[in-house]
């Protein structure tokens, strides 16, 4: 019978959970180690940390295992865990220039100070299915690493810091002046400790997107790039690397670096008109946990889009974008339609039957 039997509902639910677990462990393969997920599926872990809004690679890997690979579920698990953590404080804002780079490119210029550092990326690979990978082993890995490092003799060290491309545009006075719109350097509004109201300030909008679901952000940004919008972006700079986490000592007030987080930062350049009527460049900014370039670029495009003076397309409507990018909210609401709705449906049946009756009566009178 239906899953709201008079008795037995509780038992059915418990069995459903067991069934799910059974599906995950019934195979003959060795149990997946959390360390294996962390080491060998790092981009997955990065994505989960971003959408779960908690930088905790081990927990993210565990969530992936627990969710049997369902990304929305895994982010959800991490987010729910986040709720149990008390807010201890806020870090000192990190200047993006302090990033310890592993990848840094610009599409705006052919060559840039510091160079185009390609870093680890699938961008230039051929997506041919690598059947050899099915035959993975420690030995093969050792051989590969040996061959990679064998011929590296004196490599140049990467510079300590890389200048920002946008700074160069700024000194040339080509960037729209936005100083009066900057958030106070002291403390940004914490989106997770309040609810969003519209129009939202930029710091709140960016936080909202930084926690957003990658696919959703991509969908909206793509619609804009394709023509439902006016951003026409150029990737001014894309950086992947490690940002220092700095906090202020409660007594001395000194800054201390307590660790670092991997992050991806995208700055896109677009066109805008200043109030005086001169054309300038304007920026869109994206930043997220881990190595997730699609998300950072999409976020940057949307950051620019939602600031459009006269929004027309959905991606330019700030309220539309920010209300629908959270993966935990959207998956929850989508899933909730599977819950019993028979009481509300009964009410609907009543109304529909009633209006049908009234209609039939009046038709009868006319006849």
């Amino acid at each position: 019978m239906a899953y709201v039997a008079v008795k037995g509902g509780r038992v059915a639910i418990e069995n459903a959970a067991k069934f799910l677990e059974h599906e995950r462990i019934k195979g003959r393969s060795a149990p997946l180690g959390v360390d294996q997920i962390k080491d060998q599926l790092p981009l997955l872990v990065d994505r989960i940390m971003g959408e779960g809004s908690l930088y905790a690679p081990d927990l993210a890997a565990l969530a992936v295992k627990q969710a049997s690979g369902d990304l929305l579920e895994a982010s959800f698990i991490l987010r729910a865990y986040r709720t149990t953590q008390t807010r201890l404080g806020y870090s000192v804002p990190a200047a993006a220039g302090e990033m310890r780079i592993i990848r840094r490119i610009s599409a705006a210029f052919k060559d840039i100070p510091g160079g185009q550092v390609l870093g680890p990326t699938p961008d230039y690979t051929l997506r041919l299915m690598d059947f050899g990978l099915a035959d993975d082993s420690r030995t093969k890995r050792r051989e590969f690493l040996h061959s990679v490092f064998k011929d590296i003799c004196d490599s140049e060290d990467l510079p300590e810091t890389f200048p920002k491309i946008v700074e160069m545009l700024r000194t040339e006075n080509l960037l729209e002046d936005r100083t009066e719109r900057h958030v106070g350097a002291v403390k940004a509004n914490d989106l997770t400790r309040g609810s969003i109201t519209f129009p939202a300030s930029r710091d709140v909008a960016l936080q909202s997107m930084a926690r957003g679901e990658t696919g959703g952000l991509l969908l909206l940004a793509y619609s804009n790039m394709r023509g439902y919008g006016n951003v026409h972006p150029t990737v001014g700079e894309l950086r992947v690397g490690f940002l220092p986490v700095k906090v202020r000592h409660p007594y001395t007030g000194d800054e201390h670096t307590i660790g670092e987080v991997k992050a991806t930062e995208a700055e896109i350049i677009s066109h805008a008109m200043t109030p005086e009527g001169t054309p300038k460049f304007t920026l869109g900014y994206g930043l997220c946990f881990g190595h997730n370039e699609i998300k950072a670029i999409s976020m940057a495009v949307l950051d620019r889009a939602i600031q459009t003076e006269e929004p027309e397309a959905p991606s330019e409507d700030q309220e539309f974008v920010l209300s629908h990018v959270d993966g935990i909210e959207s998956m929850g609401f989508c899933n909730h339609f599977k819950l019993p709705h028979y009481v509300t449906f009964q009410s609907s049946l009543d109304r529909t039957r009633k209006t049908q009756e009234v209609w039939d009566e009046s038709e009868a009178v006319v006849d």
Binding site: Y3, V4, A5, V6, K7, G8, G9, R10, A12, I13, F76, I77, R79, A80, R82, T83, T84, Q85, T86, R87, T192, R193, G194, S195, I196, T197, F198, P199, E319, S323, I328, E329, M331, G332, F333, C334, N335, H336, L339, P340, H341, Y342, V343, T344, Q346, S347, S348, L349, D350, R351, T352, K354, T355, V358, W359, S362
Partner: protein
């Protein structure tokens, strides 16, 4: 006993809540939500925004109601959780399991015994008293959402009591169908000021909101809003003088378990012929009534 005493008592050791604080939420969160609840009670029907936290249960599945319950519950409270009127429904079971796991409170199915009742889409048939709180789960807290998709705009409409768009929607319904076609989520005016969405309770339950003895607390977790109807508050469904508000008409159907004709009934399709039977939606009340009849 208060929480501090409870934490050091044997009761706590007996029902250990594990690594989580009492009722899962941290104290800062509870404080914020309590303050917002007080504000909501002070402005009946007004939606108070709050920093809704994620919970181990999905958004859309009762995180709002749950945050209220977890915030107001104490170790000695007695909890009832229902969904569609039933204590045994999947959603109700899931929620009550979670709450008992992080608080150790006693559960009941008897409406008259509970101090806190968390519900999805129904108000229990038995009237509640001044010592009880009904916590309702709300998917869409905005009564005006049917006529206006923008949150920024609906906030302005509430602030200026600019409700003509909703009244117009009802008027158009009447000229189109000769009836107001809204089923559940029927808009009501609270304390002669704010128009409120009572959550997807059937029209049957709307009269129970008016001048009740108990407190009603509503919360939408995903949409991040808390609102309230304090006891003895005026709550009237939107209606016209010549098209009054009407509850569902079961056309004399009878509950086949307890024989009731005065409760909200679930319609069950028995077999392929389409034959119907009816059962009380409020399963606990139905069982009680059936029991009393047998005695």
């Amino acid at each position: 006993m208060n929480l501090k005493q409870w934490l050091t008592s044997d009761l706590h050791a007996e029902r250990a809540t594990g690594k989580y604080s009492f009722a899962f939420l941290d104290e800062g969160t509870k404080r914020e939500i309590r303050r917002k609840i007080l504000k909501a009670i002070a402005i009946p029907g007004y939606q108070v925004p709050f920093g809704s936290r994620e919970l181990p249960i999905a958004r859309g599945w009762g995180t709002g109601g749950l945050q209220i319950t977890l915030t107001i519950i104490g170790p000695r409270d007695i909890l009832k959780v229902i969904d569609q009127g039933s204590d045994d429904s999947v959603n109700a079971v899931n929620i009550s399991t979670f709450v008992t796991r992080v608080t150790g409170v006693t559960l009941t199915t008897d409406t008259t015994e509970a101090s806190i009742i968390q519900t999805r889409h129904r108000i229990p048939e038995e009237p509640m008293n001044e010592d009880q709180v009904l916590v309702l789960q709300v998917p869409i807290p905005e009564a005006l959402r049917t006529v206006e998709p923008s949150e920024e705009e609906t906030r302005r409409m509430h602030a200026e009591a600019d409700y003509s768009a909703l009244w117009l929607y009802l008027y158009e319904d009447i000229i189109r169908y000769r009836e107001i076609s809204i089923g559940a989520r029927y808009p009501v005016t609270v304390n002669h000021r704010y128009i409120m969405d009572p959550s997807p309770i059937p029209r049957w339950d709307i009269p129970k909101l008016h001048r009740a003895k108990n407190l009603f607390l509503f919360c939408a977790g995903r949409e991040k809003r808390i609102y309230a109807i304090p006891p003895h508050t005026d709550v009237r469904p939107l209606e016209f003088q010549d098209y009054p508000f009407r509850v569902e008409d079961f056309k004399g159907a009878v509950c086949c378990r307890c024989g009731s004709t005065a409760t909200y009934l679930d319609e069950i399709i028995e077999d392929e012929t389409g034959a119907r039977i009816y059962l009380c939606s409020d399963t606990a009340y139905c069982a009680k009534t059936a029991e009393e009849q047998r005695a």
